[in-house]
Amino acid sequence: MDTVNRMKTTPCPTITLIPAPGQSKRLATLLQRGFLIPCAEPIPLETVLLGLPGFTREYIHNRIETIFINGTAADSLAQSVWPGCTVALSAAMPGLAGAIFRKGGPHASLRTPPPVSLPADHNRHEFLTLKLFNLVADDCVQPLLNRGILMRNPTLARFFKNRADQLPQILTAIILNRTPIPINRAIQLPENQDLFLVRTESDTADT
């Protein structure tokens, strides 16, 4: 499940983000709409997560308290995920709804239970989508971006558009392969590219 190794057989352009000192955590919201993880067959969620940088067994069992698989709350990290599915992870959440959706929560019986099932067409897909929210995104953004994540063009473009005001504070450079892209209100990504490997330059001063 190593994203970078898989990229050797799936070539795509690299976007390198150079964060301003102390700012790399502010890229955490990049993870809320989701990035892609190569996935060839149904596999336990825990196995997928353990292949990602920053996700130790202890971390995923203690910090990740809310799991959605295709929008349905899940109670176990052993549950299978599959090509084409969307997984969202969050820390423990407030409110009755937070308690209802919490992994193994005492109020789980108050959920509406739509079935989680493996769609027949899952083998048409090559990736699953992983969304990271709140403290989980904040904890993991640096190791994930240091190694690189796969993102779809519209997701990345939307992030740049919505953060246009903040990007000059957060980043000192954006580099597409080896070419710098001006950081302005209308950051242009090549339209003919659907996927990018997005990474930050390792910034030891910023950890």
């Binding site: 502010r26 955490a28 919201t29 809320q32 709409r33 910090r63 308290e65 809310t66 959605f68 929008g71 349905t72 709350a73 969202a88 969050s90 820390a91 423990a92 959440m93 407030p94 409110g95 009755l96 709804a97 937070g98 308690a99 209802i100 959706f101 005492p106 109020h107 019986s109 108050l110 959920r111 509406t112 739509p114 969304k131 929210f133 709140n134 403290l135 995104a137 904040d138 939307r158 919505n162 953060r163 005001d165 903040q166 504070q169």
Partner: protein, 575 residues
């Protein structure tokens, strides 16, 4: 200072101070407001008439140093729902009233003329003063004007123009430690205050302290209680992102009501999420973490600045952001913040008014997504009381009737907040059966097992879901009586020392010997009292229902309808 009941008669403009009757001694907050309303208000009375009473009560632990104990309860018969109502809020007032020995303030009667009044509460009791300068002012101006008239330390409870116009969505605002506002939002209690022509209540600071029978035991229990709150992981999320951390989660669950409850997911969720809000606040030198009253150790509030880094709003809650955001399809946090600021200033409930806007958008008043249009209508119509503004300011059901819209998400006339009941059935049970109309805070996530109200039937059956909702409502009613912020519930769920420490603090404060069972019995008694009032006002089990469209229109993405049978809902009151 010994506790007293302060009574204000607006008919003959007299005030009195009474000893606390024995039967009210063990009550505070919602327990006390609901008991007084049930005992003293004729259930069938007109909510804006002379027979209704507005009751203000700090919680049992308000005024002490107990963490998160500064919530103020305000109760009356609601002009929005026609039921009994309690709305609670942070701000400085609860702690100040408790230190003055005010167990409850009861405002009754109606003045005969057109004059407006201010009530001043001090160590000497309550005085009524005729008010001219503040009349017609928005809430922020009221706070600033009183700040100049007195000093910044006075507590303030006030209504905006909406309360003066007696709109059914009018709220009551409470000054917070930074001279901004917190709101007792739901149920139109601002209209009740307006009907009594009380523009504001000013509370004088005092050096007096709340009496504590066993200080040592109290300090020890508070230490354990505070530790449980601080250590809880949800406190960390709340202190970082506020309650708006829920946008992404509820959207992911397909339970984020969007475009007037026609979908469970909002494409613009990322733009209004707690995570995005946090970054925006940091970028604009606001405060992502802030408290609504002194002594809160969770600090879920925040200060949101505009693009010029000037204060725009605070206490920017998930439910308000959802309502103006997803429900009206506005994906611009600045427009939502501007609307929130306007609603705070006008003094209308930001859930009711925003849901009303969503219904009005379906009725063709504005395009969905038109955040600037919403702000314009708030400024030019609701604030000024044009006929359109009054229709919107009277809530979602009022707009549905005026615009011929049938998809009106209300229960007992009060707007359903933030969690679609088709996608989270358990919350729907609470919306349907609550004594106060649809309200997400009525059945909170309290540790029912510790309170001895854990479930006894299969939790996955409809019967089990109804039972759990009932138990949560019982526990919530009890917590609402303590003056505690409901967010203590998360720690109570995870840390078995938390609730016992809370009970220990109450015991140490009053020299009592309560057990968890007593707390549960208090909750049961409050619910039954409220239910009895509603029944006497004419409500039946037929009012404990969700609107028709929830049964008929599946909601995307899960394509589910509301399907809890009526007979199961009716079992809610079998206790």
């Amino acid at each position: 200072m010994a506790e007293k009941i302060y009574r204000v008669n607006m008919t003959n403009l007299t005030t009195s101070t009474e000893p606390v009757p024995d039967k009210w001694l063990g009550l505070g907050g919602r327990g006390l407001t609901s008991t007084i309303v049930a005992e003293e208000v004729e259930p069938t009375c007109h909510p804006l008439g002379g027979k209704n009473k507005l009751v203000v009560a700090p919680g049992l632990l308000s005024g002490t140093v107990a963490a998160n104990s500064g919530r103020l309860s305000i109760g009356a018969k609601s002009p929005l729902t026609g039921t009994i109502k309690e709305a609670n809020s942070g701000g400085t007032a609860a702690q100040m009233l408790a230190k003055l020995g005010c167990k409850a303030l009861i405002i009754e009667g109606l003045p005969k003329g057109d004059a407006w009044y201010t009530l001043l509460i001090s160590e000497d009791g309550v005085t009524i003063q005729e008010e001219q300068e503040l009349v017609g002012k928005g809430n922020f101006d009221v706070v600033a004007t009183i700040g100049k008239r007195t000093d910044e330390k006075h507590g303030i409870i006030t209504i905006g123009p909406a309360g003066e116009m007696k709109l059914s969505a009018a709220n009551i605002s409470i000054k917070d430690p930074d001279s901004h506002l917190r709101s007792s939002g739901r149920g139109g209690l601002g209209a009740v205050m307006g009907s009594k022509r009380v523009k504001c209540i000013i509370i004088e600071p005092t050096d007096a302290k709340v009496e504590i029978v066993d200080q040592e035991k109290f300090t020890e229990a508070n230490r354990a209680f505070t530790k449980a709150l601080v250590d809880n992981p949800i406190s960390q999320a709340l202190g970082t992102y506020g309650t708006n951390v829920l946008v992404n989660i509820i959207n992911e669950a397909g339970a984020l009501p969007t475009r007037n409850f026609t979908s469970g997911q909002f494409d613009g969720h990322e733009e209004i999420s707690g995570e995005t809000m946090h970054d925006t606040i940091v970028e604009r030198a606001g405060k992502p973490k802030h408290n609504c009253h002194k002594g809160c150790v969770i600090q879920c509030s925040q200060i949101y600045n505009d693009k010029e880094k000037k204060y725009k709003t605070s206490g920017f809650e998930y439910e308000s952001i959802w309502a103006m955001g997803a429900d009206c399809c506005v994906d611009n946090l600045d427009h939502i913040a501007e609307a929130d600021h306007l609603m705070d200033d006008i003094g209308v409930d930001s859930i009711e008014t925003s849901v009303a806007m969503g219904v009005a958008m379906e009725g063709g008043l504005l395009e969905f997504g038109d955040g600037e249009g919403i702000c314009r209508i708030l400024r030019e119509d609701v604030a000024k009381g044009t006929p359109l503004g009054r229709i919107i300011g009277c809530g979602a059901a009022s707009v549905g009737r005026a615009f011929g819209v049938t998809r009106v998400p209300v229960v007992k006339n009060q707007a359903i907040p933030a969690y679609d009941p088709r996608a989270v059935k358990g919350i729907g049970i609470t919306y349907a059966t609550s004594t106060q109309g649809a309200d997400h805070t009525m059945g909170y996530t309290i540790a029912t097992n510790i309170l001895g109200v854990g479930g006894s039937v299969d939790p996955l059956s409809h019967e089990g879901q109804v039972e759990l909702s009932r138990n949560l409502q019982i526990a919530t009613a009890a917590i609402d009586s303590t003056g505690m912020c409901l967010f203590i519930a998360f720690a109570a769920l995870d840390d078995e020392k938390c609730l016992p420490a809370l009970v220990d603090m109450i015991n140490a404060r009053f020299g009592a010997d309560l057990t968890a069972d007593d707390v549960t019995n208090l909750g049961i008694s409050i619910l039954k009292t409220e239910r009895a009032f509603n029944e006497a006002a004419g409500f039946t089990n037929k009012d404990d229902r969700l609107p028709e469209f929830f049964y008929e229109e599946p909601i995307a993405p899960h394509n589910v309808v509301w399907d809890i049978p009526d007979e199961e809902l009716d079992k809610f009151w079998d206790f």
